[in-house]
Each structure stands twice: as C-alpha cells, then as structure tokens.
Symmetry: C2
C-alpha cells in the first residue's frame, strides 16, 4: 500500500536553553530535547558549542542524537548571511522530510537576539510546522547572581545591543542592560568611569566560570564573550 | 549535649516560576521547590494564587508543604507597603529559624518587577542566607506564542511598566513591551489605533487561557490582568 511509504513530516522546535547552566533549562525544553532525534546548534562543529554544552549533561541518551552544525558566519553582509541561513534551513528540512523532529538550540531566549528566528521563518515559509520554546534570558541570570532587581515598580528596563550610541543609551531612564557590547565596550567603560551611576558587570552568567564585577572602577579591561553590563538609575 | 539543640537555620530562595505554564519552570526551580518544606507566595490565602497554581501540578508531594500567604496590599503608600513587607519577612524568618527552607514564588523572573526582591533584601539584612533562581519572563512567552522576535540584530528592547508617559514611550526606538498597563491601557490603545505600527497583544501568556490579538484594530477593549502589549518598530 502506498500509505506505508508516506512518512509523517517532522516538526522543528526553536528551544531556548537558558543562559548556560544546564539546570536553567525548562521542563518543556528538556521534554522537547528528549523527544527530538536531531539537535541543531549554531556552532562550527558537530561536537562543540556553548548551547550544546548546556544541554549535554541533562538530555537523555544524548550520544544517540544526530547533531546538525548550523553555523552562521560573523558578517553583516546580507547576501552572505541569507545564503547561510537558507543552507541551514535546507539541512533542517531534509531531516523534517525524513520524519525526524529537530530541536534548534538557542542560548537564552530565542526571541531576544536569537539567530534561530530567521531559520524559524524560513522553515515555516517552506510549509513546515515550527514552534518556539521560551528560555531564561542571560540578563535575568546576571541579575539573580548580583541579587539586584533589574527593575522595580515604575522603572523602565532597556536592553541595548552591540551597535548603540553610548551617550544616548545612557540618557534612557531606568535600567540599561548592554548586551554583545564588544566593539563599544571601551567607550562605554570610559564613560561610566567618569560617572556616578551604579554599574555591575557579569561575565558568563550562570556558568561555572561566572564572574561578577561591581562598580565602574572594577569593570574588566576587556569585554569577554558573553559579557553583560548593567547600568542602574539608582 | 548542647549541640543537639542547635538547629541549622533554613535558607530562603526567591524562585522565578516562569509565566504560568508549569512546564516553563526550570529544572533548578523544581529541584529547589521539591527540597523546601515551606512555600511562600504573594496571594491572599494559603490555597489560591496564580504562582501557586503554576507549581502545584509539578512539585512532589505538594500537599505536604506548608504554604505561607505573604500578601502585599495594592497601594503606593510607602509606610503601608513597608509594614506589610516587614510582616512577611518576619513570617519567613520564623520558619528559617525553625530550620526550614522557604521558597518564595515569583511569577516570571524575580528581578523584573518582582515584589520578592524587597523581601530578599529584608531577610538578608536580618542576617539570613537567601538566593534568587531566575525564571522565564512573561514577555518571552508572549513572543514565543506570537512567533515573532522581540529584538533582532541592532534593535533595542524596552520594557515599560504601568506608570509611563505613552507618547514618550512610543518614541523609543526598537521594540516596546508594555507591562501592567491597566490605567494607561485606553490611552495607549487610542494612540496605537491612529498609528501605522505593528502591535500585538497577548493575555495570560503560556497559560491555558492564553489569547493572541494581532494588529491595533484587534486590541481588546479592556486590559485584563496579565496583559502584555508589544509595539514593534518594524
């Protein structure tokens, strides 16, 4: 019978795995990961990557999963990026066509600067089923480590990405969280060291190598990968 | 021997339980809740409350836990609020003195408008051990339900609480998330309906009764409890 050969298409899940501590995965993320035979991640190789390290210790029979490396090149060239995303979408769709469910790992939450979102749209546009599983963002883990509120009562919270104008970002009222601040870090550090505002820096929030630096004068000289700067109005 | 009577003091945990779906609890939140004999929550009674409903289905032997009701009155009067917080802190410290571990439930993440943070400081100031467990904020769950990014690449994300100036909040670049918008909801709705911006509203994100409303013309007439309004720049 023909029906015997019709495989049900698999489903794609964009899984927020939280800030890095495997214990900060949600129950839902873990259930989805346990149920998917294929795990896609934004790393270069099939066996290394921050998001992969975050799920490896908790996922059942992790060694039996197929790992898809879906690297996205570090460029702002739209054509190069689009081609890379389309190639990754194709890799994933091959698996979905084979009836396999795919979990795409996204550090933190997928809807906050998650490169997964582009893949999500592409795969949905090709007619496949796709869902998003929210995760704990890194700034929540950083604030928990600092034991300080990001915002209280009437305070606003602003999340500022890499390509910001330091001076105008610092004028915003309420709490400012600077993410991915690599290139602007020195300018921001200089500005904050000549300033009376409360500043905290957290590197690798929730991971074993997490470090908290309190006060502008204690800001590290160089911004490591996964550095968060929190500037309070208080 | 005197040592036999020296009880080890308990520890306080401010636990982010996520937006409402019990499956969006983290593995860490669940471990801590399973290990605490006392669960404190901001509801009026010992058996009802949104945060309590969110953990009841997943915590082991929930019926054996002692539930502490730590209500905070709906007022802006600082003296009344402070007195209520101090009374709640005292309730909790009694349990810690008895050697019991206490988990204080906080919907979403404790560091984002969490009333827990005030209790945390008070209990630490009294000399007790206290920790914060981060959780998934409601706006991440709302964006996951909408399948839309809160922020991509260079976009800023602004979280705006109840007491905002609608016009100036709408001038911020990037994505605006309006939380707890009860009193300002009508003004915001009118403004957005005369506006070309993309707007989505999510009520009760991640809960069974979650609803998504897309477009300014479909904004509900009245803002229910737990309504989130997302205004995009796109």
């Amino acid at each position: 019978m023909d029906n015997m050969n019709v495989k049900k298409r698999g489903c794609l899940y964009g899984v927020g795995v939280g800030p890095g501590d495997p214990e900060l995965l949600t129950l839902k993320a873990l259930r989805i990961l346990n149920g998917c035979s294929v795990i896609a991640h934004p790393g270069k190789t099939h066996d290394a990557g921050v998001a992969l390290d975050c799920v490896r210790p908790v996922v059942q029979e992790f060694h039996k999963k197929t790992i898809l490396s879906c690297e996205v090149p570090m460029t702002k060239e739209a054509a190069v990026l689009d081609a890379a995303y389309e190639a990754n979408a194709s890799l994933i769709c091959e698996r979905l066509d084979a009836g396999e469910d795919v979990a795409f790992l996204n550090l933190g939450d997928p809807t906050i600067y998650g490169s997964y979102m582009t893949i999500h749209k592409m795969v949905e546009d090709r007619g496949y089923e796709a869902y998003i599983v929210p995760g704990v963002p890194s700034f929540c883990a950083a604030a928990a480590a600092l034991e300080d509120a990001l915002c209280l009562r009437g305070e606003e919270l602003h999340v500022i990405p890499a390509s910001y104008d330091v001076a105008s970002a610092l004028e915003l009222s309420g709490t400012k969280v600077f993410m991915k601040s690599g290139k602007k870090y020195q300018e921001l550090r200089t500005q904050l060291q000549n300033d009376a505002r409360q500043v905290d820096v957290v590197t690798y929030a929730s991971m074993d190598k997490q470090q908290c630096f309190r006060g502008a004068s204690n800001m590290p000289e160089v911004a490591e990968y996964l550095t968060l700067i929190i500037v309070y109005e208080r």
